[in-house]
Each structure stands twice: as structure tokens, then as C-alpha cells.
């Protein structure tokens, strides 16, 4: 073998372009359309009765179909939370902010949500919160339709009421 070139090629530029076109699916489509109407849908497991939000076609836990869509409340309880001091990729959010699991009233699992309109140090497990929706006419039927959750000022929920929904 001869010597490699004195000025080697150090990089090869490769552009990968892979377009995708995702179908929402009937269940997600109904869930997203409901957000536009300020409604949150879940799906009820036909075996255990548990309600999953967002809705699923089957219970991951029981393997039974979830064939009934039910409306749950747009308010609930902070089950667990963390205070984020790192910038978020892709979202313009002032730090620190509170990322929380919120168990909506009527749901058996929690969703992830921002908690705002309060100081991070005031957030606690059991705190009651409600959704702050985008104004009428601005909701698009996507997850940004709920801007964040804020405290309702109601008394805290007792721990037993949410410990199974962490």
C-alpha cells in the first residue's frame, strides 16, 4: 500500500431525508378533536374498568380491549412533580418550571403537565390543579390546546386518593 494522501478527506457529508406521514388513528383523532371542545377523553378497560388518558385501544395492564370512550375532568391532583432548571429542547419555557404528573378526576393514570401561576416551591403532592385552555377559536385539536395547569385553591387531596395513580 502507498502512503495515504497528505491532506486526507476528513469528513463525508451525507444528508438523510426521510419524510413520514403519520395517521392519527380513530382513537387519537377523537381525543384530539375533543380537546378543541375543551373536553378530555379517556378509554375504559372492559375488564377492570380503569380509565386511561389519553385513550388506548387496549389496556396495557389487563390486555383487555378498551372499547368505551369516557369524558374525564379537566382538573385533578398533582401526584408527583419535579422542578426543572435545564432549558427544554423545542419549547420556549421560562426556567425554573414545574413538570408534574396530574391525575385527572375520573382517570386511573396520570398525564404529564406543566404547572404554572404559582411558585415552584409551593407545588406539592396532592395539590389540586385545573387546565388553562387556549381561548376559543385558537384551539387546534392538539396537545398545546392545554397551555398548562394552575392551582385551584381547593384543599389538598388526601394521599390515599392518588397514591395508586402516581
Amino acid at each position: 500500500m502507498t502512503e495515504p494522501p497528505k491532506e486526507p478527506v476528513r469528513y463525508v457529508e451525507t444528508t438523510v431525508h426521510l419524510p413520514y406521514h403519520y395517521v392519527a388513528g380513530d382513537v387519537r383523532a377523537r381525543y384530539l378533536a375533543a380537546l378543541k371542545e375543551k373536553k378530555i377523553l379517556g378509554a375504559r378497560c372492559s375488564r377492570t374498568g380503569k380509565v386511561f388518558v389519553p385513550p388506548l385501544v387496549a389496556s396495557p395492564e389487563s390486555f383487555a380491549p378498551c372499547d368505551e370512550l369516557v369524558e374525564v375532568a379537566d382538573r385533578g391532583v398533582v401526584t408527583t412533580f419535579c422542578v426543572v432548571n435545564l432549558p427544554v429542547i423545542g419549547r420556549n419555557i421560562e426556567i425554573p418550571y414545574v413538570a408534574s404528573s396530574v391525575a385527572l378526576d375520573g382517570a386511573d393514570i396520570s398525564i404529564f403537565a406543566l404547572v404554572q401561576e404559582c411558585r415552584p416551591e409551593d407545588v406539592r403532592m396532592g395539590m389540586r390543579v385545573e387546565a388553562v385552555w387556549k381561548p376559543d377559536g385558537e384551539r387546534q385539536g392538539d396537545h398545546q390546546d392545554i397551555q398548562y395547569f394552575r392551582p385551584t385553591g381547593e384543599p389538598d387531596a388526601p394521599r390515599e386518593s392518588f397514591l395508586h395513580r402516581l
Binding site: 463525508v12 451525507t14 438523510v16 431525508h17 426521510l18 419524510p19 413520514y20 406521514h21 403519520y22 395517521v23 392519527a24 388513528g25 380513530d26 382513537v27 387519537r28 388506548l56 385501544v57 387496549a58 396495557p60 395492564e61 389487563s62 390486555f63 380491549p65
Partner: protein
Amino acid sequence: MAPLRNVAVVGFAQAPIVTRDERRVATEILYPQVRRALTECGVERDAIDYQVAGSADYVDGRPFGFVAALDVTGSWPPRQDLHLEMDAAFAAYYAWVRMQAGDCDSAIVCGYGKNSEGELERVLNLELDPYYQAPIGLTPTATAALQASAYLARTGTLDRTLAEVAARNRVAGARNPDALLREPATADDLARTPWAVAPLRQGYLAPTGDSAVCLVMAAEGKAEAMCDRPAWIRGLDQRIELQTLGARDLAASAGARLAAEKALAMAGMRTAHEADVVELAAANPAEELILLDALGLATADGGPPINPSGGPLCGHPFMMTGLVRLGEAFRQLAGRAGDHAVPRARIAIAHAAQGHCLQQNLFFVLGAERRWT
């Protein structure tokens, strides 16, 4: 060889292949197939020890997307699981290996991933070498045409023969309710279709589509209760060839030939002519001819029916096409092939492939009788 554990295919469910499922995501297509396959076996999910799957995240563009399937495969309480970035038929191979190890007696094998959500030709370009092959724009259709061209030149096979092979598949597919293309076509029709990449015409290419499949396997002692006519695995082998296309003889498939020889020998067969039916994962007629050559079936004087399901030319749900072949072989032996049944089938060969120009090949030999006593 030393006796191995007898393992059988005991159930199979497939979503009919469609060009594009507008109403369900991949896991939503899969869920009913898992339910149907278990119902067919008369068991609850808890009766299954092991779960394996094959899919490729790039196909439908969901990084780490395979974990989403866990939510619809009954994966609670926590299960032992294996996922392959391979056609799901290779996952069935590993389920068999696992059962030989003796620590599980039953498994579900799932294949899924919506072909329609991305652009497979672009995705499969990335399967090639990133410095020399992928940047020049090679796609699976182009590499398949290179292979077809090499095969035609080596053997003197004519375009007319490719049209006849494709037409035979299309006529068969008209009898398979799960096929994507159910309109029969004649060799004349197909020989008039425009060139896709010469020497392959548009009518010679396997149409990709959306589906999901679940196959159930069980070892002797469990299998009998799950199926009245289990399809026993009598032999199997898989071989992989080199990545550099130029380093391979594309006019033949050395890997397919060796895998076929090993699988047949394991099954105690002298020749593939002893099989009653063969299902091949051939994505075009030249591939089918190359595979028949590898099996020693490339003679004009009869032989077992090839692809009575219509084969991939009547529906090619990429990443599960091979598992569908295994499922079809099971259907033939279990008496569940309906209008496309091969009468009195006792031995079936199923093939799966992955990669450009048949890079990886897997053969199963299934039989109505156990192999080892």
C-alpha cells in the same frame, strides 16, 4: 444429529394487507391479531411464556417504536421479551432456539410496522454501505434489478418467464382473503407493464402494504392442547451473506442454498421435492427463480406448489413478509388455508429474507409429524 425438542407453530393471525390503513396506527393493527391468535389456541395471555417481535423503527418513523408494541401484546406482569430489527420470521427462529434451551415452552411472535407511513425506498437505501453504495442512490428496486439482470444473463431466462412467474402468483393471490392484490393477472398483462428498473417491470414488483401478524409457537407437551393439527418444525437454518454487493455472485444466492441444504438435512429430507408446498419471500420473480434454484426446485418437471397464498407479489408487508410465509405454511398443514389450500399437504417449506439481493435467508421445514421421538 442428537434429538432436539419438538416445537410447533400452533396459531397464526394476520390483518389483511392494505395499501394504507387510514384509521389505525401500527399497534392498533397488531392488538386484534394477538387476541385472535391466542383465541385460536384457546389460551389466555398468561399461558404464553415468551414474546418476540421483528420490526424496523425506520419503516414507520418511530424511534424506539418497538416498545410501543408492548402495550398491546399483554406484557404485564413484566415479561421476558426479545425484539429484532429483522423480519419477524427471524424472531420465530430465536423463539425456537429459546425453546431448545428449555426455559420456555410457548411464545408469541409479532410482526408490525406500517409500511405506508414512510418511504421504504429511501429507508432501505440506508441499509447499504454509507460511503460507496447509499450516496449514489441505490434503492432496493435498483439492487433487485441488478440481481435480476445478473440472473437473466447467467441463465438465459427471458422476460416472458418472469411474467409467467409473476402471473402464477397473481392468480393464486386471488384466492387468499389476506392478500393485497386479489385481481388475477395474466403473463400477457404483466409483460405489458412499464419498466420499473429494467429488467424488472412494474408488474413484477411486490406491492408493500400495511398489516400486522401474530404467530404462536409451543413445544411438545403444550402444543397439542393449543392446536388440533400443530405444524412441527422439522428443520431450520439461516445464513447471512456479505454486505458489499460487488463481492457476491448476484446471479445466485449462496446463502439461500446453504440454508436450504442445512434445513432439509435437519428435517431428514434428501430433496425439497419431498415438500408438498413452498412459501417463498421473493419480492420479484427473479428472486423467486433464484430461490427455487437454491432449493433444487428449478426444474420444469413439476414440484410442489410455490406460493399458493400469492406470495409477496400479492402483498409485501415489509418486516413481516417472512413471518407471513411461516404462517401460511402453518395454515396449509393445519387445514386452515381455505380456498388456497394445497390438498393433503404434510410437509411445507417456508422462507424469509432480509437485506438487499437476498442478503439473509432463513428456511423452515414444517411437518404434520414430529421430527424427533
